[in-house]
Structure formats: structure tokens, C-alpha cells
């Protein structure tokens, strides 16, 4: 799957990086906590978030996300779009909620970048 497939699946509007939509989507990462993205996401993940500010783009750049999907129909301002363009981060917006957007991508075969569950013994947590 590449970013343009995600654009179709999630009915995305593209705010920046129209020429970068052939990037492969290896993993998905969903969080509004940028430190969690920095701590748990792998290089090459697609970031889904409801957090729309310059630090969202900085985080995507530092964590080496391949792109950012803003959920719930939120719109980034001109500064955020400018930073995304400058750093070569595709920035897209979907009308879906975080839960719906993640569900659609997960069903389409995009695995999670966060491996938190593997660090826990699930049999002991029930």
C-alpha cells in the first residue's frame, strides 16, 4: 500500500506533499501524544493524529514518519502546512475519527508500528 491508497480509503484532502504519495505505508501509528510517537513508532510509519500544530510535523520529521493524517476533519493552518512542505512531510486530512481511520487502515492490512502488547504477558492481565 502507498500513501495515495490511504488517500482514497480515508477520503483525504492533501495539504502538502502531493508529489510524495507514492511512498510505501509499512506501519500505522496513532497518537495525540508526540512523546509516545517518538518513543514507540518505527521509522517508516504513517502517523494518524488529532494534534495539528508545528510540533506534529517536527515529531513526524524526527521520528521519520512517511506522512501525517489529521483526523476528524481538522484543518492545519498556513504555518503548519509551510513547515510540512519545507520538511517534505506529506500532510493529509480525513473526515473520519481516529478510531474509524485506524480501523479502515488496519482492515486494509496496515499493521501497527507500536509493539507495546508484545512486552506484556496478556494471560496475566485479564
Amino acid at each position: 500500500m502507498v500513501l495515495s491508497d490511504v488517500q482514497t480509503l480515508l477520503h483525504c484532502r492533501v495539504f502538502s506533499g502531493k508529489d510524495l504519495l507514492d511512498r510505501p505505508v509499512k506501519y500505522g501509528c496513532a497518537s495525540d501524544l508526540m512523546s509516545d510517537v517518538l518513543a514507540f513508532s518505527q521509522s517508516g510509519a504513517l502517523l494518524l493524529t488529532g494534534m495539528v500544530n508545528v510540533q506534529t510535523i517536527q515529531t513526524a520529521y524526527i521520528a521519520e514518519s512517511i506522512g501525517v493524517i489529521i483526523v476528524r476533519g481538522k484543518k492545519p493552518d498556513a504555518t503548519v502546512i509551510g513547515v510540512a512542505r519545507q520538511k517534505g512531510i506529506p500532510l493529509l486530512g480525513t473526515p473520519y475519527s481516529m478510531y474509524e481511520a485506524c480501523g479502515i487502515l488496519y482492515r486494509a492490512g496496515v499493521p501497527s508500528t507500536m509493539k507495546c502488547v508484545h512486552e506484556h504477558d496478556l494471560s496475566k492481565s485479564v
Binding site: 512523546s35 509516545d36 518513543a39 494534534m51 500544530n53 508545528v54 524526527i62 521520528a63
Partner: protein
């Protein structure tokens, strides 16, 4: 840059300048790429530096961040003028935070900053004086013995 030579550069970070937060780590990431350092190592240094930079932006008045690259290691030292950390052990716990609503609105202040920095560092040292400031020093090894990254090649472009 030949064997034994080092790169050393200092950057200023201003507290409360939320829009500028991340510019120093972006610049450092670019410098390390130009030096031909392994991508996984660069990512670890960039994450640790960005968290440290955001800590200064959120809590301190100002800071000096120094990057030093030798053939053996990358060192980041951040010395800030600010309120200091009264209980470092507590601040190192994941989830502990003194962040304000403004900081949380940026997606930070969830109590993951210092643990994230330590997670990405081979050596981690922090000292603080309440009312004066905090000094953070981290090292990420470039030699083969750490088993985490490729050896540093100073001649690679």
C-alpha cells in the same frame, strides 16, 4: 574529518518559543546525515535531542546545546537556566509530569520526555539545582562494541 578529529558546535534554545521548538534537532539531524552516520543512530540522537529541546522550550528560560561528534561517540550536552528539577528520580518516572495545559496542547508534557531521552542514550547523566537550572549529558556510541549501530566512518559523504 579524519580519524581522531571531532565536530563540536553549540546552539542556543530559547524558552517559551514554541514555534521554534525542533529547529536545533532538525539542524543536528542534517549535520549527522552529512557526516554519513548510520541512520538508526541518527534517529536515536534526533529523538533524544528533540525531547531535550522541547524540555527547554517548555520549562526553562534558555539553554545552550552542544553537539560533539568523535569517531567513537556522539555527545549532546544541554545546560539550561531555569527552575531546575527538585526530584530527578520522580521526573524520570514515565507518566510523571508538571506540564501545563499549554504544553499538553502541543502533544507534550505526558511525562515521557526524560525516559525517552534515556531510552535512546548509551550514557545518560542529569544534574539539577533548583532555582538555577539543569545540565543534561547524553552519549550515543558509534563503535562496534555497543551492538546497536554500525561503525562510524568519518570519510563517508
Amino acid at each position: 574529518m579524519g580519524n581522531g578529529e571531532t565536530v563540536s558546535q553549540s546552539f542556543a534554545i530559547l524558552g517559551r518559543h514554541f514555534l521554534e521548538g525542533g529547529q536545533v534537532s532538525t539542524e543536528i539531524k542534517g549535520m549527522l546525515k552529512e557526516l554519513g552516520i548510520d541512520a538508526a543512530i541518527i534517529r536515536r540522537v534526533a529523538i533524544a535531542t528533540y525531547e531535550a529541546e522541547m524540555n527547554v522550550v517548555m520549562y526553562a528560560e534558555q539553554a545552550s546545546l552542544t553537539l560533539k561528534v568523535t569517531p567513537r561517540a556522539i555527545t549532546i550536552t544541554v545546560v539550561d537556566r531555569g527552575p531546575g528539577i527538585p526530584d530527578i528520580e520522580l521526573a524520570m518516572q514515565e507518566g510523571y509530569s508538571t506540564a501545563t495545559a499549554e504544553m499538553r496542547e502541543l502533544g507534550f508534557g505526558a511525562g515521557m520526555g526524560l525516559p525517552n531521552i534515556r531510552r535512546n542514550a548509551d550514557e545518560f547523566n542529569i544534574t539539577s539545582t533548583v532555582g538555577k537550572g539543569t545540565r543534561l549529558k547524553i552519549t550515543v556510541n558509534l563503535n562496534e562494541t555497543n551492538g546497536r549501530g554500525l561503525p562510524f566512518n568519518p570519510h563517508r559523504q
